[in-house]
Symmetry: C2
Subunit: 345 residues, 2 copies
C-alpha cells in the first residue's frame, strides 16, 4: 500500500496531529508512506520519514525541507528544471481546524486528490457540536440535551448544575470545563470563549458510562472496531488526551453485553450512513439510565483509533480502495449556444 500522511494544519490541535502522524509511521510501517506537513502558514512540506520526530517541527527544522504545491491529482515539487509528483492516496490526519472543518476536504476535492477522511458536509456535522445535535435530532439518534450561548450574550442557561461548558468547535477537551455551581461559571465561560464565539452547555451526567467505537465502510459494508471503555477520570484533560493520541497498543474490548454492542453499532451506522463515506471515524457514546446517547463524532480520531483495530493496516488499505468519487461535470455550453442562436448572434 502507498499512502500519503497529511498532518499539521493551522489548528489548536496542530501538535496533536504531529503526534498522530509519528504514531502512524510505526503502525503502518509495512506501507510505502509519504509524509506531507502543512504548517500553520498553510505551506506544504515534504518530510523525510527519518525526520518524523517532534523536534523537526518544534525547532522549525522542517522549513529547510522541500515545499510542495497542490496541482490537479497530486502534490508537486517544482524546481527550475524538474517536477516530481506525489499522487498516492492521502490520509487526512489534520485534527481540529483545517482537517475536521471541511477545509482540507474541499481543497483535496478541488484538486481531485483521493483521500481518506470526512467530506465537507460530514465535517460540518461533526466539527461543530451544535450541528452534531441537529444531525442526531434529524436521524433519531439520542444525545445529551444542550443549550447554546454566544459570546457577549446575556447568560440564559436554564440547565441545572453541575454542567459542562464546551467551545462549539473544538475537540480534544480544549477549553472544556465542568461547572459545579454558578460561582465557577464566569471563569469557565471566559476559558471557552477564548477558543470559540459559540459555546455548548450540557448537563454533567454523574455515573455515566462511556464507550468508544470506531468504524468505516469499505466494499459497501460497515466494519467495526472493538468497543472500548476509556479509562475513567472525571474527564480527560488536554495533556492526558495528548498522550492518548500517541497510543499504538491494541486495547481489550469493553466487558459489555452483546445486546449493548448491537445498540452501539446500530447508532453508529445511523450516523455514518453515506455522510461519512471515505472516513474512518470514532463515535463516543454515553450510556445513561440504560439509554445510548451519542456524545461526540471524531471524524479524524487521534492516531486514527488504530489501537481499537485488530489489523489496522488492512483496515486502512480496504478503505483506501472504497473512496467516494466526485461526479465529473463538464459543460457543452448548450444553453449559451441556444440563447446565442435565439438572439441571432
Amino acid at each position: 500500500m502507498k499512502l500519503t500522511i497529511l498532518f499539521g494544519g493551522a489548528s489548536f490541535e496542530h501538535e496533536i496531529s504531529i503526534v498522530s502522524a509519528i504514531t502512524l509511521k510505526e503502525k503502518l510501517s509495512s506501507a510505502k508512506l509519504t509524509f506531507i506537513f502543512c504548517d500553520t502558514d498553510h505551506t506544504f512540506y515534504l518530510i523525510d520519514a527519518a525526520k518524523m520526530k517532534a523536534k523537526t517541527f518544534s525547532s522549525g527544522e522542517y522549513k529547510k525541507m522541500p515545499q510542495l504545491q497542490l496541482a490537479q491529482g497530486c502534490f508537486t515539487q517544482k524546481t527550475l528544471f524538474s517536477k516530481t509528483e506525489y499522487d498516492s492516496v492521502v490520509l487526512n490526519l489534520i485534527h481540529g481546524a483545517d482537517g475536521e472543518d471541511g477545509t482540507i476536504a474541499s481543497l483535496l476535492d478541488f484538486y481531485a486528490v483521493d483521500y481518506i477522511g470526512p467530506r465537507s458536509d460530514a465535517c460540518t456535522f461533526s466539527y461543530d457540536k451544535r450541528y452534531t445535535k441537529y444531525l442526531c435530532e434529524a436521524l433519531g439518534v439520542k444525545s445529551v440535551k444542550y443549550e447554546v450561548l454566544h459570546k457577549n450574550e446575556v447568560n440564559k442557561i436554564t440547565i441545572a448544575y453541575p454542567i459542562i461548558i464546551k467551545p462549539a468547535r473544538l475537540g480534544s477537551s480544549i477549553g472544556v470545563s465542568i461547572v459545579k455551581e454558578e460561582s465557577e461559571l464566569d471563569y469557565a465561560l471566559d476559558v471557552a470563549f477564548e477558543f470559540d464565539d459559540t459555546v455548548i452547555v450540557e448537563p454533567f451526567l454523574e455515573g455515566v458510562k462511556e464507550y468508544n467505537l470506531a468504524g468505516y465502510c469499505a466494499n459497501n459494508e460497515m466494519h467495526f472496531s472493538i468497543v472500548e471503555e476509556p479509562h475513567k477520570e472525571e474527564f480527560l484533560d488536554f495533556e492526558k488526551k495528548y498522550m492518548d493520541f500517541s497510543r499504538s497498543e491494541q486495547v481489550l474490548g469493553a466487558d459489555i453485553s452483546e445486546e449493548l454492542t448491537v445498540r452501539l453499532k446500530s447508532n453508529f451506522e445511523k450516523v455514518y450512513d453515506r455522510l461519512f463515506e471515505g472516513a474512518l471515524i470514532r463515535c463516543d457514546f454515553f450510556v445513561y439510565h440504560d439509554e445510548v446517547l451519542l456524545n461526540e463524532i471524531n471524524p479524524i480520531p487521534g492516531s486514527m483509533a488504530n489501537y481499537l483495530f485488530e489489523d489496522f493496516a488492512s483496515a486502512i488499505e480496504a478503505l483506501s480502495h472504497s473512496l467516494p468519487k466526485k461526479k465529473q461535470i463538464k459543460s457543452n455550453y448548450e444553453y449559451i449556444h441556444s440563447i446565442s442562436k435565439a438572439k441571432g448572434k
Copy 2:
C-alpha cells in the same frame, strides 16, 4: 470599490454563472472589477473585461488568457520573470457545485483570500435540501414536509400526489419534476437521479403563494431587499430560470401587508443569523394557509438578486467591509516542548 468576480466552476450551473457574471459587469460598472474564470477542469483564468461575453467561454477562447494560481492572500499570475498579484475582495459567483457546496469557500479560506459568499458550514445547510430541512427543524422555521429517497432504494414514498421530486443538491430547478400520479413517478425519479444519488420528495402545494427576499448583514445590522412575488408559472424550468439569471432591472415590491413582510424578514433573520455572515443570500418562501414556509436558501443567488435592491453597488460595498475574519492560529509547540522535557530528551 475594487472587486474580483469569481465565476464558472465544475457545476451543472456553470453557464448560469457566466450569465450572472456578465450581468454584474453592467450592474457594478462603477467598481474596478477583475474577472477570474474557473473552468470545469479547475484552472483559473484572468479574463479581460472587454472579453466578458458568453462566446469567450463557449468557444474555448478563454484558454488563451493568462492562467492564475492561488497563493496566500491573492491570485497570482506568474511568468518566468514576474509575478502579478490580484488581491481585491472576491465575490464568489459560482452557482451550484464548487461555489455553493463549500469547495470555493474552503479554498479561499485556506489561502486567506477575503470573499463575499457563504462560508463552508452555510454551504452545507443550503446546498443540500435535506440539510436545509435539518436547519429549519433546529431553528423553529417552518418548511414543507418531505421524504428522502436514495438511488436504488425501494420506493417508500408515502406523501400523497401531486408531489415534487428534486435532486437533493441542485439549484435552478435542474432535474425537478411535478408528478401528478404514480404512472409518472419512475420517469421523474430517473431524471432526478441523473443529477444526484439522493432525492427529496415534497407535496406539491396547489394555490401556494411564493415570495422572494434577499438580504445581508453589514456593520452588525441586517439589510433587506424588497419582497418580490416571482412570476407565477407552475414552476420555473431551467431555461426560464436561466434567462432569469441575467435580470438587471429593479422590480417592484410585492403587494403584501406590512405584517407579512415582517414575518418573512423574521424568518429570514433566523436562518441567516451568524451562519450566513459574509454572504448576500436570497430566501424563497411559500405562504400556504397563512403559514410562512421556507422553500429554499440561495446562498449565491442568480446575478446576486441585484434587481431586488435599490442601490445594489452600495450593498455589495458595505458587505465587502463586513466580512467575517478567520481566527489566526499559530503554534508555540508548548506541549511538544513539555513532553520532550519530561522524557529528558
